[in-house]
Subunit: 457 residues, 2 copies
């Protein structure tokens, strides 16, 4: 709890790709049946999304702040995530632990996570508990007590979290410096948890001004999913969040963007704890928000055909047919404000070495660039993505996650509901064009995780 | 003119290593003969250094601002250098070109340059022209006219400069991305000239607030070298610069620092214009200001022995003895606020390939780490550094450059005058310790400049 950083964000991101509207999802305008998703905005600027789901007497209450690590000032990395920890301390209304105790008392659960672009807090409870959850969540939006003691205690917790999850994990060490090599100007190059020396240096003033700047109703999105209806949610939200004054308007989230990449870059981490080496090939690509029309959907299909799942080309070729890899695949990050990353990876098996696996990955990349995909592959990928959304929709939390992540990264409800049509519009030519444009080995950033001794072959 | 960016800064930086006090250099306290260097501060905070040099009726007038590209806000890269261009436009007192015309009319010359940590403007004139130079220079410290027209004109000039000096030069393209890979958190990773899209985005407001913030007497250092004396310079400076009101105090120059580097990183640029490949091995090391006592001097001697000049180990071994390289050497950047870089480089000759050259460079690095240097090498390096200062002192501009660069990066006059003693204190053990600590191939960043086709071997 309270310590999920990039992984949760990543899966939320993925959700955008794999989730599309079930027939029951619709915009407020077309909301006629009582399972339609609706959205509205309170007078103080709080965006609200309601996702009715009457199958069980459960509700998910999520509050998303449109602030993540990429919104931090230089030298203050980790502040967004640090703040997520502090939000579990007391307020001027309730002592520390009272909110969590109230959730536990009704058999609920809670969690929170921070990513590059957002910070989210959520509880799963019975629908009857929603007014209480909103009261607590609205309270800590503005009434948090930022004592020096709380700050120092949580600083040690965060530093320990960093040691355990990053500094003690070879793949995380590599991933951190790989990311900083992939993004040379954009703050996505800075880890969400923050650099150690900067976490150590965060002051009370830094945290206070971060809170005052970003924790306001007009910088947040409320998502409520479950056995509820929009009118009731609106009434409850107005009664709690609605009482909070609008904060100052924030300037646009204009982060420094990447210059044109002209080099290839390799990042290598060697460590005695590594027994089997692996490699990844990484490119940044435009986020869904920034991509040209249809381009992000083409990239999603490209990644699906190339390397997602057991029937993908990479798995079939490297793992099944050639038997040189224990794993091989690709993925596309999503639900980000500025850039997503397309990643191809592989790990050798048996007598095969890493160079052989790399050559086989590159051969498949070349093939999809040069020959594109077949109409059958396109159709299968579309079907798989559309099928995946059913599983997604089946989970209340994942559903809420999807809408929250999209809205917190500059998207709209329609970006989700319109996905089937956008997928339908993708052609085999568009997929090949995306492959040619982005999967370029002359502008790739490769990561190698290696044992202490020996070379890549 | 007006377009020297990093190169000038680099040579200024080097100056710190190769320049030491001639017997005639002394601090203000010990100033008894009339060639002693003296320094003082005007009431409005302007630091002044006077370097008398009576050999010829010439004077050098330099004004250094303690602001460079590493002080820019994120997303505003290039603003310090852009501003250097704008400083040659008109003020509310004098139309554009009048200052330059006045210099030309008296047979003088002028120049300016921008680096990571400072921006400097200078003129060489007869000593009798000094009051005029100060009047003009003091005028443009506060009275610059920032018209939209001037900004747009210079933006095109700067963009063209970027195209010519960076985007059209393969080694510069590599160098830019190599630097961004070496520095993953510190702004030294961002090029002094700025990223193209950010130069394009700089606004009148950005420039105006940059000017108001940084172009103040208390953020500047005046260096006057030549046929002058301190009392006369003080009187002239008080009459001109002294009339300008002190600006607001600036916060300390606290830039985001590098996290511990745990990976090795390779950056490769291929280009059809490259006919002979080359490589560099790069490490960042603490700047003179940040290094532990004696460490920077040990690094200077290390670089001297390893690769500076025709008698260095790298040259003798790779170029002379093995005949595999047309060039091979090393250098240490200096006069920086936060970090310097130690760079080892080589270029193959004849039938030798780049891998062979790399292996030979690494062998020499290993040797100096494992075996250190001899007392004779230490003595030779010291003598060479001390001899170099004589040539340095012989050039009025280089002399002024040295003092300006050191003072603009947080140093004092004594940091220069005390160098002979500090060099004397370096031991062979200290040099080997520096080699072991910093020249680590497991934490190196390598740059490869390659022809379009073929591999490194």
């Amino acid at each position: 709890m309270r310590n999920s950083i990039a992984n949760v964000a990543l899966s939320a991101a993925f959700a955008f790709i794999v989730a599309v509207a079930a027939p029951s999802i619709a915009t407020a305008q077309e909301a006629e049946d009582d399972t339609a998703v609706s959205s509205f905005t309170l007078e103080n600027g709080l965006d609200v999304v309601v996702i009715p789901d009457h199958r069980a007497p459960v509700a998910t209450h999520m509050l998303w702040y449109k602030v993540g690590s990429a919104d931090e000032e230089p030298g203050k990395s980790g502040i967004a995530h640090f703040f997520e920890h502090l939000m579990f301390k007391g307020t001027s209304t309730y002592p520390s632990g009272e909110f969590s105790a109230a959730i536990a008392a009704v058999g609920g659960s809670e969690n929170a996570f921070t990513s590059y672009d957002f910070t989210a807090y959520y509880q799963q409870i019975a629908p009857s508990e929603l007014p209480d959850m909103m009261r607590f969540e609205a309270d800590r939006m503005r009434n948090l007590v930022l004592s020096e003691e709380n700050i120092e205690t949580e600083r040690q917790v965060v530093l320990e979290e960093r040691r355990q999850r990053t500094d003690n994990v070879p793949s995380s060490i590599l991933s951190e410096e790989l990311n900083a090599t992939l993004y040379q100007n954009h703050p996505y190059g800075i880890p969400v948890i923050g650099w150690q020396q900067e976490i150590e240096g965060l002051t009370h003033d830094d945290l206070k001004s971060f809170y005052d700047r970003f924790y306001t109703p007009n910088n947040a999105v409320l998502v409520v999913a479950g056995d509820v209806n929009a009118d009731a949610v609106r009434a409850m939200a107005e009664e709690t969040y609605g009482k909070i004054a609008r904060g100052p308007d924030l300037p646009p989230r204009a982060r420094p963007m990447e210059p044109d990449q002209k080099t290839t870059r390799d990042v290598t981490f060697r460590d005695p704890r590594v027994t089997v080496p692996n490699l990844s090939i990484n490119w940044y690509v435009p986020s869904a928000r920034r991509a040209e029309k249809g381009e992000f959907e083409a990239l999603a299909i490209l990644s699906e055909v190339l390397g997602e799942g057991l029937r993908s080309r990479l798995y079939q070729e490297l793992v099944v047919k050639q038997g040189i890899a224990s794993s091989a695949g690709s993925y596309l990050q999503g639900a980000a404000y500025d850039y997503s990353a397309l990643v191809v990876y592989g790990e050798p098996r048996g007598g095969a070495d890493l160079e052989t696996v790399e050559a086989a990955l590159v051969a498949q990349i070349d093939k999809i660039r040069n020959e594109g995909i077949t109409p059958e592959e396109l159709e299968t990928a579309r079907t798989k993505i559309l099928r995946d959304q059913i599983f997604m929709r089946d989970s209340q939390v994942r559903s809420a996650n999807l809408f929250g992540a999209v809205l917190a990264t500059g998207g709209k409800v329609e970006d989700i509901t319109g996905l089937p049509e956008r997928l339908e519009a993708v052609t085999v030519e568009a997929v090949q064009a995306a492959a040619r444009r982005y999967l370029d080995m002359d502008h790739a950033v490769k990561g190698y995780l290696l044992p202490q001794e020996g070379d890549r072959s």
